[in-house]
Symmetry: C2
Subunit: 261 residues, 2 copies
Protein backbone atom coordinates (compact mmCIF):
# COMPACT_ATOMS: atom_id res chain seq x y z
CA UNK A 1 0.00 0.00 0.00
CA UNK A 2 1.07 3.54 -0.65
CA UNK A 3 0.57 6.99 0.80
CA UNK A 4 -1.37 9.75 -0.94
CA UNK A 5 -1.26 13.50 -0.41
CA UNK A 6 -3.29 16.10 -2.27
CA UNK A 7 -3.91 19.82 -1.95
CA UNK A 8 -6.57 22.00 -3.57
CA UNK A 9 -6.61 25.76 -2.86
CA UNK A 10 -8.30 28.99 -3.84
CA UNK A 11 -4.94 30.78 -4.16
CA UNK A 12 -1.56 29.31 -5.13
CA UNK A 13 -0.12 27.91 -1.91
CA UNK A 14 3.05 26.01 -1.10
CA UNK A 15 2.77 22.52 0.32
CA UNK A 16 6.00 22.67 2.33
CA UNK A 17 4.44 22.12 5.79
CA UNK A 18 2.34 19.12 4.76
CA UNK A 19 5.19 17.67 2.70
CA UNK A 20 7.47 17.94 5.73
CA UNK A 21 5.27 15.45 7.56
CA UNK A 22 4.39 13.38 4.50
CA UNK A 23 7.87 12.75 3.12
CA UNK A 24 9.15 10.98 6.24
CA UNK A 25 6.52 8.29 5.64
CA UNK A 26 8.74 7.30 2.73
CA UNK A 27 11.20 5.25 4.76
CA UNK A 28 11.26 6.75 8.27
CA UNK A 29 7.88 6.83 10.05
CA UNK A 30 6.51 4.32 7.55
CA UNK A 31 8.08 1.68 5.31
CA UNK A 32 7.16 2.89 1.83
CA UNK A 33 10.53 3.05 0.11
CA UNK A 34 9.81 2.10 -3.49
CA UNK A 35 9.84 5.55 -5.09
CA UNK A 36 7.72 8.64 -4.87
CA UNK A 37 6.52 11.61 -6.86
CA UNK A 38 4.78 14.98 -6.65
CA UNK A 39 3.00 17.06 -9.28
CA UNK A 40 2.33 20.80 -9.10
CA UNK A 41 -0.09 22.56 -11.42
CA UNK A 42 0.89 26.15 -12.17
CA UNK A 43 -1.92 27.55 -14.30
CA UNK A 44 -2.46 25.07 -17.14
CA UNK A 45 1.19 23.99 -16.87
CA UNK A 46 2.28 21.14 -14.65
CA UNK A 47 5.54 19.83 -13.35
CA UNK A 48 6.04 16.35 -12.04
CA UNK A 49 9.00 15.39 -9.87
CA UNK A 50 9.64 11.66 -9.71
CA UNK A 51 12.29 9.54 -8.04
CA UNK A 52 12.63 5.80 -7.61
CA UNK A 53 14.59 6.36 -4.38
CA UNK A 54 12.93 6.53 -0.95
CA UNK A 55 11.78 10.08 -0.19
CA UNK A 56 13.99 10.35 2.88
CA UNK A 57 17.07 9.68 0.69
CA UNK A 58 15.93 11.52 -2.44
CA UNK A 59 17.76 14.65 -3.65
CA UNK A 60 14.57 15.52 -5.50
CA UNK A 61 12.56 15.44 -2.27
CA UNK A 62 15.21 17.70 -0.76
CA UNK A 63 14.60 20.17 -3.61
CA UNK A 64 10.83 20.05 -3.08
CA UNK A 65 11.31 20.69 0.66
CA UNK A 66 13.50 23.74 0.02
CA UNK A 67 11.86 25.27 -3.06
CA UNK A 68 8.37 26.56 -2.16
CA UNK A 69 6.42 26.03 -5.38
CA UNK A 70 3.01 27.72 -5.15
CA UNK A 71 0.17 25.79 -6.72
CA UNK A 72 -3.61 25.50 -6.53
CA UNK A 73 -3.54 21.74 -7.14
CA UNK A 74 -0.88 19.31 -5.91
CA UNK A 75 -0.81 15.51 -5.89
CA UNK A 76 1.94 13.48 -4.21
CA UNK A 77 2.48 9.76 -3.73
CA UNK A 78 4.89 7.51 -1.87
CA UNK A 79 5.08 4.00 -3.24
CA UNK A 80 5.07 0.59 -1.61
CA UNK A 81 5.22 -1.68 -4.63
CA UNK A 82 2.44 -4.24 -5.03
CA UNK A 83 2.30 -4.61 -8.83
CA UNK A 84 5.23 -3.66 -11.10
CA UNK A 85 8.97 -3.48 -10.43
CA UNK A 86 10.66 -0.65 -8.52
CA UNK A 87 11.44 1.66 -11.42
CA UNK A 88 10.77 5.18 -12.58
CA UNK A 89 8.02 4.13 -15.00
CA UNK A 90 6.01 2.78 -12.06
CA UNK A 91 6.32 5.87 -9.85
CA UNK A 92 3.15 7.92 -9.37
CA UNK A 93 1.77 10.43 -10.11
CA UNK A 94 1.13 9.66 -13.75
CA UNK A 95 0.45 12.34 -16.35
CA UNK A 96 -1.53 12.38 -19.57
CA UNK A 97 -3.04 15.10 -21.78
CA UNK A 98 -6.77 15.10 -22.61
CA UNK A 99 -8.78 17.94 -24.21
CA UNK A 100 -5.72 20.19 -24.17
CA UNK A 101 -5.23 19.88 -20.39
CA UNK A 102 -2.83 17.86 -18.31
CA UNK A 103 -4.32 15.28 -15.96
CA UNK A 104 -2.46 13.92 -12.95
CA UNK A 105 -3.32 10.70 -11.14
CA UNK A 106 -2.05 8.78 -8.12
CA UNK A 107 -3.47 5.61 -6.57
CA UNK A 108 -3.30 3.76 -3.28
CA UNK A 109 -4.65 0.24 -3.25
CA UNK A 110 -4.54 -2.92 -5.30
CA UNK A 111 -6.74 -3.97 -8.20
CA UNK A 112 -6.62 -7.73 -8.65
CA UNK A 113 -6.78 -9.15 -12.17
CA UNK A 114 -7.53 -5.73 -13.58
CA UNK A 115 -6.62 -5.82 -17.28
CA UNK A 116 -9.17 -3.58 -19.00
CA UNK A 117 -9.07 -3.07 -22.76
CA UNK A 118 -7.62 0.38 -23.31
CA UNK A 119 -7.68 2.39 -26.48
CA UNK A 120 -5.62 5.48 -27.13
CA UNK A 121 -4.22 5.88 -23.62
CA UNK A 122 -1.74 3.09 -22.95
CA UNK A 123 0.25 2.35 -19.81
CA UNK A 124 4.05 2.68 -20.02
CA UNK A 125 4.79 0.76 -16.82
CA UNK A 126 3.31 -2.38 -15.29
CA UNK A 127 1.08 -1.12 -12.47
CA UNK A 128 -2.64 -1.67 -11.98
CA UNK A 129 -2.69 2.05 -11.08
CA UNK A 130 -1.53 3.30 -14.47
CA UNK A 131 -3.94 0.88 -16.18
CA UNK A 132 -6.79 2.36 -14.14
CA UNK A 133 -5.72 5.91 -15.03
CA UNK A 134 -5.57 5.05 -18.75
CA UNK A 135 -9.04 3.52 -18.51
CA UNK A 136 -10.40 6.69 -16.85
CA UNK A 137 -8.84 8.88 -19.55
CA UNK A 138 -10.11 6.65 -22.39
CA UNK A 139 -13.63 6.52 -21.01
CA UNK A 140 -13.82 10.27 -20.40
CA UNK A 141 -12.60 10.93 -23.94
CA UNK A 142 -15.14 8.47 -25.38
CA UNK A 143 -18.04 9.88 -23.35
CA UNK A 144 -17.24 13.49 -24.22
CA UNK A 145 -15.73 13.53 -27.73
CA UNK A 146 -16.47 17.26 -28.05
CA UNK A 147 -14.11 18.12 -25.18
CA UNK A 148 -14.39 19.04 -21.52
CA UNK A 149 -18.10 18.76 -20.63
CA UNK A 150 -18.05 21.02 -17.56
CA UNK A 151 -17.29 19.98 -14.01
CA UNK A 152 -20.70 18.59 -13.08
CA UNK A 153 -20.98 16.21 -16.03
CA UNK A 154 -17.34 15.29 -15.59
CA UNK A 155 -17.94 14.48 -11.93
CA UNK A 156 -20.96 12.28 -12.65
CA UNK A 157 -19.07 10.34 -15.34
CA UNK A 158 -16.07 9.92 -13.10
CA UNK A 159 -18.35 8.63 -10.34
CA UNK A 160 -19.64 5.86 -12.61
CA UNK A 161 -16.17 4.92 -13.81
CA UNK A 162 -14.70 4.96 -10.29
CA UNK A 163 -17.37 2.69 -8.87
CA UNK A 164 -16.85 0.20 -11.69
CA UNK A 165 -13.07 0.12 -11.19
CA UNK A 166 -13.41 -0.04 -7.40
CA UNK A 167 -15.27 -3.33 -7.79
CA UNK A 168 -11.86 -4.85 -8.64
CA UNK A 169 -10.24 -4.03 -5.30
CA UNK A 170 -8.96 -1.11 -3.27
CA UNK A 171 -9.11 2.10 -5.26
CA UNK A 172 -8.15 5.18 -3.26
CA UNK A 173 -7.10 7.78 -5.79
CA UNK A 174 -6.47 11.48 -6.40
CA UNK A 175 -7.02 12.99 -9.86
CA UNK A 176 -6.70 16.60 -10.97
CA UNK A 177 -6.89 18.58 -14.19
CA UNK A 178 -5.42 21.69 -12.59
CA UNK A 179 -8.81 23.23 -11.86
CA UNK A 180 -10.57 20.65 -9.70
CA UNK A 181 -9.24 17.74 -7.67
CA UNK A 182 -11.15 14.47 -7.34
CA UNK A 183 -10.64 12.09 -4.41
CA UNK A 184 -12.07 8.59 -4.29
CA UNK A 185 -11.95 6.51 -1.10
CA UNK A 186 -12.06 2.73 -0.87
CA UNK A 187 -10.73 2.43 2.65
CA UNK A 188 -8.21 5.12 3.68
CA UNK A 189 -8.58 8.77 2.70
CA UNK A 190 -8.97 11.79 5.00
CA UNK A 191 -9.34 15.49 4.35
CA UNK A 192 -9.17 18.81 6.12
CA UNK A 193 -10.19 22.33 5.09
CA UNK A 194 -8.04 25.12 6.50
CA UNK A 195 -9.75 28.51 6.45
CA UNK A 196 -10.31 31.48 8.77
CA UNK A 197 -10.12 31.55 11.73
CA UNK A 198 -6.67 29.99 11.27
CA UNK A 199 -4.77 28.43 14.15
CA UNK A 200 -1.72 26.33 14.89
CA UNK A 201 -1.18 22.92 13.29
CA UNK A 202 1.14 20.25 14.65
CA UNK A 203 2.50 17.38 12.55
CA UNK A 204 2.10 13.75 13.62
CA UNK A 205 5.22 12.44 11.86
CA UNK A 206 7.62 15.11 13.10
CA UNK A 207 7.52 17.46 16.10
CA UNK A 208 6.89 20.50 13.95
CA UNK A 209 4.20 23.18 14.27
CA UNK A 210 2.98 25.98 12.03
CA UNK A 211 0.69 28.80 13.13
CA UNK A 212 -1.36 29.47 10.00
CA UNK A 213 -2.86 32.62 11.57
CA UNK A 214 0.60 34.16 11.06
CA UNK A 215 0.99 33.24 7.38
CA UNK A 216 -2.47 32.87 5.82
CA UNK A 217 -4.64 35.65 4.41
CA UNK A 218 -8.23 36.01 5.62
CA UNK A 219 -9.80 34.62 2.44
CA UNK A 220 -7.38 31.71 1.94
CA UNK A 221 -8.96 28.30 1.78
CA UNK A 222 -6.92 25.12 1.47
CA UNK A 223 -8.11 21.53 1.35
CA UNK A 224 -5.52 18.88 2.26
CA UNK A 225 -6.30 15.25 1.44
CA UNK A 226 -4.15 12.39 2.73
CA UNK A 227 -4.30 8.65 3.27
CA UNK A 228 -4.01 9.32 7.00
CA UNK A 229 -4.20 12.63 8.93
CA UNK A 230 -0.96 14.59 8.90
CA UNK A 231 -1.66 16.71 11.99
CA UNK A 232 -2.90 15.77 15.46
CA UNK A 233 -4.75 18.97 16.43
CA UNK A 234 -7.02 19.67 13.44
CA UNK A 235 -10.45 18.26 12.53
CA UNK A 236 -9.72 15.71 9.78
CA UNK A 237 -12.72 14.05 8.13
CA UNK A 238 -12.51 10.36 7.22
CA UNK A 239 -14.09 9.76 3.82
CA UNK A 240 -16.54 6.84 3.85
CA UNK A 241 -15.76 3.84 1.61
CA UNK A 242 -17.15 4.33 -1.89
CA UNK A 243 -17.22 8.13 -1.74
CA UNK A 244 -16.00 10.38 -4.55
CA UNK A 245 -15.46 14.06 -3.72
CA UNK A 246 -14.78 16.98 -6.03
CA UNK A 247 -12.65 19.76 -4.52
CA UNK A 248 -12.63 23.23 -6.02
CA UNK A 249 -11.15 26.47 -4.68
CA UNK A 250 -10.10 24.78 -1.47
CA UNK A 251 -13.26 22.91 -0.41
CA UNK A 252 -15.36 19.89 -1.34
CA UNK A 253 -18.14 21.04 -3.66
CA UNK A 254 -19.78 17.75 -4.65
CA UNK A 255 -20.02 14.18 -3.36
CA UNK A 256 -21.14 10.88 -4.86
CA UNK A 257 -21.43 7.48 -3.24
CA UNK A 258 -21.02 4.09 -4.95
CA UNK A 259 -23.88 1.71 -4.24
CA UNK A 260 -22.97 -1.05 -1.85
CA UNK A 261 -22.58 -4.37 -3.57
CA UNK B 1 15.41 31.58 -30.53
CA UNK B 2 16.29 28.94 -28.02
CA UNK B 3 19.09 26.54 -27.18
CA UNK B 4 18.84 22.78 -27.59
CA UNK B 5 20.90 20.03 -25.98
CA UNK B 6 20.50 16.30 -26.55
CA UNK B 7 22.41 13.17 -25.59
CA UNK B 8 22.08 9.61 -26.89
CA UNK B 9 24.32 6.87 -25.45
CA UNK B 10 24.93 3.13 -25.51
CA UNK B 11 25.13 2.98 -21.70
CA UNK B 12 23.36 5.19 -19.14
CA UNK B 13 25.55 8.28 -18.80
CA UNK B 14 25.22 11.48 -16.81
CA UNK B 15 25.04 14.76 -18.70
CA UNK B 16 26.66 16.86 -15.95
CA UNK B 17 29.68 18.08 -17.96
CA UNK B 18 27.65 19.17 -20.99
CA UNK B 19 24.94 20.69 -18.79
CA UNK B 20 27.62 22.69 -16.97
CA UNK B 21 28.40 24.52 -20.20
CA UNK B 22 24.84 24.54 -21.50
CA UNK B 23 23.03 25.95 -18.47
CA UNK B 24 24.99 29.22 -18.40
CA UNK B 25 23.52 30.01 -21.82
CA UNK B 26 20.29 30.54 -19.87
CA UNK B 27 21.07 34.08 -18.75
CA UNK B 28 24.87 34.36 -18.49
CA UNK B 29 26.77 33.62 -21.73
CA UNK B 30 23.55 34.00 -23.70
CA UNK B 31 20.31 35.88 -23.12
CA UNK B 32 17.76 33.05 -23.05
CA UNK B 33 15.99 33.64 -19.76
CA UNK B 34 12.39 32.61 -20.38
CA UNK B 35 12.40 29.18 -18.76
CA UNK B 36 14.08 25.88 -19.40
CA UNK B 37 13.65 22.14 -19.04
CA UNK B 38 15.40 18.80 -19.22
CA UNK B 39 14.05 15.27 -19.68
CA UNK B 40 15.84 12.05 -18.74
CA UNK B 41 14.70 8.65 -19.92
CA UNK B 42 15.46 5.86 -17.47
CA UNK B 43 14.35 2.66 -19.18
CA UNK B 44 10.79 3.24 -20.37
CA UNK B 45 10.29 5.77 -17.58
CA UNK B 46 10.98 9.43 -18.02
CA UNK B 47 11.33 12.42 -15.76
CA UNK B 48 11.00 15.98 -16.93
CA UNK B 49 12.31 18.90 -14.87
CA UNK B 50 10.82 22.25 -15.88
CA UNK B 51 11.23 25.77 -14.56
CA UNK B 52 10.00 29.10 -15.84
CA UNK B 53 13.00 30.81 -14.21
CA UNK B 54 16.31 31.41 -16.03
CA UNK B 55 18.60 28.38 -15.69
CA UNK B 56 21.28 30.37 -13.90
CA UNK B 57 18.78 31.31 -11.17
CA UNK B 58 16.83 28.06 -11.08
CA UNK B 59 16.91 25.80 -7.98
CA UNK B 60 15.87 22.96 -10.29
CA UNK B 61 18.93 23.55 -12.50
CA UNK B 62 21.03 23.47 -9.35
CA UNK B 63 19.55 20.03 -8.55
CA UNK B 64 20.29 18.75 -12.06
CA UNK B 65 23.88 19.99 -11.79
CA UNK B 66 24.44 18.20 -8.46
CA UNK B 67 22.45 14.99 -8.96
CA UNK B 68 24.06 12.86 -11.69
CA UNK B 69 21.10 11.12 -13.30
CA UNK B 70 22.28 8.41 -15.70
CA UNK B 71 20.29 8.12 -18.88
CA UNK B 72 20.64 6.83 -22.45
CA UNK B 73 18.49 9.63 -23.86
CA UNK B 74 18.35 13.21 -22.61
CA UNK B 75 16.76 16.32 -24.13
CA UNK B 76 17.21 19.82 -22.68
CA UNK B 77 16.00 23.24 -23.80
CA UNK B 78 16.54 26.84 -22.78
CA UNK B 79 13.79 29.18 -23.89
CA UNK B 80 13.85 32.60 -25.50
CA UNK B 81 10.15 33.23 -25.98
CA UNK B 82 8.91 33.96 -29.50
CA UNK B 83 5.35 32.61 -29.36
CA UNK B 84 3.46 32.15 -26.07
CA UNK B 85 3.84 33.86 -22.69
CA UNK B 86 6.61 33.09 -20.20
CA UNK B 87 4.92 30.35 -18.20
CA UNK B 88 5.40 26.74 -17.21
CA UNK B 89 3.00 25.42 -19.86
CA UNK B 90 5.25 26.89 -22.57
CA UNK B 91 8.53 25.45 -21.25
CA UNK B 92 10.09 22.67 -23.32
CA UNK B 93 10.61 19.74 -23.44
CA UNK B 94 7.02 18.59 -23.92
CA UNK B 95 5.87 15.05 -23.12
CA UNK B 96 3.15 12.83 -24.52
CA UNK B 97 2.42 9.10 -24.53
CA UNK B 98 1.98 7.18 -27.78
CA UNK B 99 1.90 3.38 -28.24
CA UNK B 100 2.64 2.86 -24.53
CA UNK B 101 5.87 4.89 -24.65
CA UNK B 102 6.70 8.40 -23.57
CA UNK B 103 7.85 10.83 -26.25
CA UNK B 104 9.85 13.95 -25.48
CA UNK B 105 10.20 16.94 -27.80
CA UNK B 106 12.01 20.29 -27.78
CA UNK B 107 12.17 22.88 -30.56
CA UNK B 108 14.34 25.80 -31.55
CA UNK B 109 13.01 28.07 -34.26
CA UNK B 110 9.81 29.82 -35.22
CA UNK B 111 6.92 28.53 -37.32
CA UNK B 112 4.91 31.43 -38.73
CA UNK B 113 1.16 31.05 -39.06
CA UNK B 114 1.39 27.40 -38.15
CA UNK B 115 -2.07 26.31 -36.96
CA UNK B 116 -2.47 22.73 -38.13
CA UNK B 117 -5.65 20.79 -37.39
CA UNK B 118 -4.82 18.38 -34.59
CA UNK B 119 -6.82 15.43 -33.45
CA UNK B 120 -6.28 13.53 -30.23
CA UNK B 121 -3.05 15.26 -29.21
CA UNK B 122 -3.85 18.83 -28.19
CA UNK B 123 -1.48 21.57 -27.06
CA UNK B 124 -1.83 22.83 -23.48
CA UNK B 125 0.21 26.01 -23.98
CA UNK B 126 0.37 28.57 -26.79
CA UNK B 127 3.63 27.77 -28.60
CA UNK B 128 4.15 26.84 -32.24
CA UNK B 129 6.53 24.20 -30.83
CA UNK B 130 3.91 22.27 -28.88
CA UNK B 131 1.53 22.51 -31.87
CA UNK B 132 4.25 20.95 -34.06
CA UNK B 133 4.85 18.19 -31.51
CA UNK B 134 1.12 17.40 -31.31
CA UNK B 135 0.99 17.27 -35.13
CA UNK B 136 3.91 14.82 -35.22
CA UNK B 137 2.28 12.59 -32.59
CA UNK B 138 -1.12 12.68 -34.33
CA UNK B 139 0.35 11.87 -37.73
CA UNK B 140 2.50 9.02 -36.40
CA UNK B 141 -0.52 7.54 -34.62
CA UNK B 142 -2.64 7.84 -37.78
CA UNK B 143 0.03 6.31 -40.03
CA UNK B 144 0.69 3.39 -37.71
CA UNK B 145 -2.58 2.53 -35.95
CA UNK B 146 -1.23 -0.92 -35.04
CA UNK B 147 1.53 0.55 -32.88
CA UNK B 148 5.25 1.23 -33.13
CA UNK B 149 6.24 0.26 -36.71
CA UNK B 150 9.97 -0.26 -36.05
CA UNK B 151 12.66 2.37 -36.21
CA UNK B 152 13.18 2.43 -39.98
CA UNK B 153 9.54 2.99 -40.89
CA UNK B 154 9.24 5.46 -38.03
CA UNK B 155 12.25 7.38 -39.33
CA UNK B 156 10.92 7.60 -42.90
CA UNK B 157 7.52 8.82 -41.68
CA UNK B 158 9.13 11.37 -39.41
CA UNK B 159 11.26 12.58 -42.32
CA UNK B 160 8.15 13.34 -44.37
CA UNK B 161 6.37 15.06 -41.49
CA UNK B 162 9.46 17.11 -40.54
CA UNK B 163 10.02 18.41 -44.07
CA UNK B 164 6.36 19.45 -44.31
CA UNK B 165 6.46 21.33 -40.99
CA UNK B 166 9.86 22.89 -41.78
CA UNK B 167 8.27 24.59 -44.80
CA UNK B 168 6.56 26.90 -42.26
CA UNK B 169 9.82 28.30 -40.83
CA UNK B 170 12.75 27.33 -38.68
CA UNK B 171 12.33 23.86 -37.25
CA UNK B 172 15.36 22.62 -35.34
CA UNK B 173 14.09 19.92 -33.02
CA UNK B 174 15.05 16.95 -30.85
CA UNK B 175 12.61 14.08 -30.33
CA UNK B 176 13.11 10.83 -28.41
CA UNK B 177 11.05 7.81 -27.39
CA UNK B 178 13.71 6.60 -24.96
CA UNK B 179 15.30 4.23 -27.46
CA UNK B 180 16.29 6.47 -30.38
CA UNK B 181 16.80 10.22 -30.60
CA UNK B 182 15.86 12.18 -33.72
CA UNK B 183 17.46 15.52 -34.58
CA UNK B 184 16.19 17.79 -37.34
CA UNK B 185 18.18 20.83 -38.47
CA UNK B 186 16.80 23.93 -40.16
CA UNK B 187 19.76 26.20 -39.48
CA UNK B 188 21.61 25.52 -36.19
CA UNK B 189 22.30 22.03 -34.91
CA UNK B 190 25.69 20.38 -34.26
CA UNK B 191 26.69 16.98 -32.98
CA UNK B 192 29.68 15.12 -31.66
CA UNK B 193 30.33 11.42 -30.98
CA UNK B 194 32.59 10.66 -28.04
CA UNK B 195 34.13 7.19 -28.17
CA UNK B 196 37.54 5.53 -27.69
CA UNK B 197 40.21 6.78 -27.83
CA UNK B 198 38.85 9.33 -25.33
CA UNK B 199 40.63 12.57 -24.61
CA UNK B 200 40.17 15.86 -22.81
CA UNK B 201 37.25 18.16 -23.57
CA UNK B 202 37.16 21.87 -22.73
CA UNK B 203 33.93 23.87 -22.46
CA UNK B 204 33.39 27.06 -24.44
CA UNK B 205 31.01 28.71 -21.97
CA UNK B 206 33.06 28.10 -18.83
CA UNK B 207 36.76 27.43 -18.29
CA UNK B 208 36.16 23.81 -17.34
CA UNK B 209 37.81 20.65 -18.71
CA UNK B 210 37.08 16.95 -18.40
CA UNK B 211 39.44 14.16 -19.41
CA UNK B 212 37.07 11.45 -20.62
CA UNK B 213 39.93 8.94 -20.83
CA UNK B 214 39.85 8.94 -17.02
CA UNK B 215 36.11 8.34 -16.63
CA UNK B 216 34.82 6.52 -19.73
CA UNK B 217 34.89 2.77 -20.36
CA UNK B 218 36.44 1.45 -23.59
CA UNK B 219 33.10 0.59 -25.24
CA UNK B 220 31.22 3.75 -24.20
CA UNK B 221 29.76 5.76 -27.01
CA UNK B 222 27.97 9.06 -26.47
CA UNK B 223 26.45 11.39 -29.04
CA UNK B 224 25.93 14.99 -27.90
CA UNK B 225 23.71 17.24 -30.02
CA UNK B 226 23.51 21.00 -29.41
CA UNK B 227 22.40 24.17 -31.16
CA UNK B 228 26.05 25.31 -31.06
CA UNK B 229 29.19 23.36 -30.06
CA UNK B 230 29.73 23.13 -26.31
CA UNK B 231 33.49 22.42 -26.43
CA UNK B 232 36.32 24.09 -28.33
CA UNK B 233 38.70 21.12 -28.78
CA UNK B 234 36.48 18.37 -30.19
CA UNK B 235 35.34 17.68 -33.77
CA UNK B 236 31.71 18.91 -33.86
CA UNK B 237 29.78 18.29 -37.07
CA UNK B 238 27.38 20.96 -38.31
CA UNK B 239 24.19 19.36 -39.60
CA UNK B 240 23.18 20.68 -43.01
CA UNK B 241 19.83 22.49 -43.31
CA UNK B 242 17.00 20.07 -43.97
CA UNK B 243 18.73 17.04 -42.46
CA UNK B 244 17.05 14.58 -40.12
CA UNK B 245 19.29 12.18 -38.19
CA UNK B 246 18.38 9.15 -36.11
CA UNK B 247 20.76 8.46 -33.21
CA UNK B 248 20.87 5.04 -31.56
CA UNK B 249 23.35 3.61 -29.03
CA UNK B 250 25.45 6.78 -29.16
CA UNK B 251 25.87 7.37 -32.90
CA UNK B 252 23.92 8.53 -35.95
CA UNK B 253 22.53 5.46 -37.71
CA UNK B 254 20.38 6.99 -40.46
CA UNK B 255 20.07 10.30 -42.31
CA UNK B 256 17.39 11.86 -44.49
CA UNK B 257 17.44 15.15 -46.36
CA UNK B 258 14.44 17.35 -47.21
CA UNK B 259 14.29 18.35 -50.85
CA UNK B 260 15.21 21.96 -51.43
CA UNK B 261 12.21 24.09 -52.27
Amino acid sequence: MCQLLGMNCNVPTDICFSFEGFHVRGGLTDHHRDGWGIAFFEGPGCRVFLDSKATIESPVAELVRRYPIRSKNVIAHIRKATQGVIALENCHPFQRELWGRYWIFAHNGNLEGFEPPVDGFLPVGQTDSERAFCLIMSQLRDRFPQGHPGNEALFRALGEISCAVAAHGLFNFLLSNGEVLFAHCSNNLHYLVRKAPFGPAHLIDQDLSMDFSQVAQADDQVAVIASFPLTDNEPWTAMPPGQLLMFREGEPVAALQCRRR
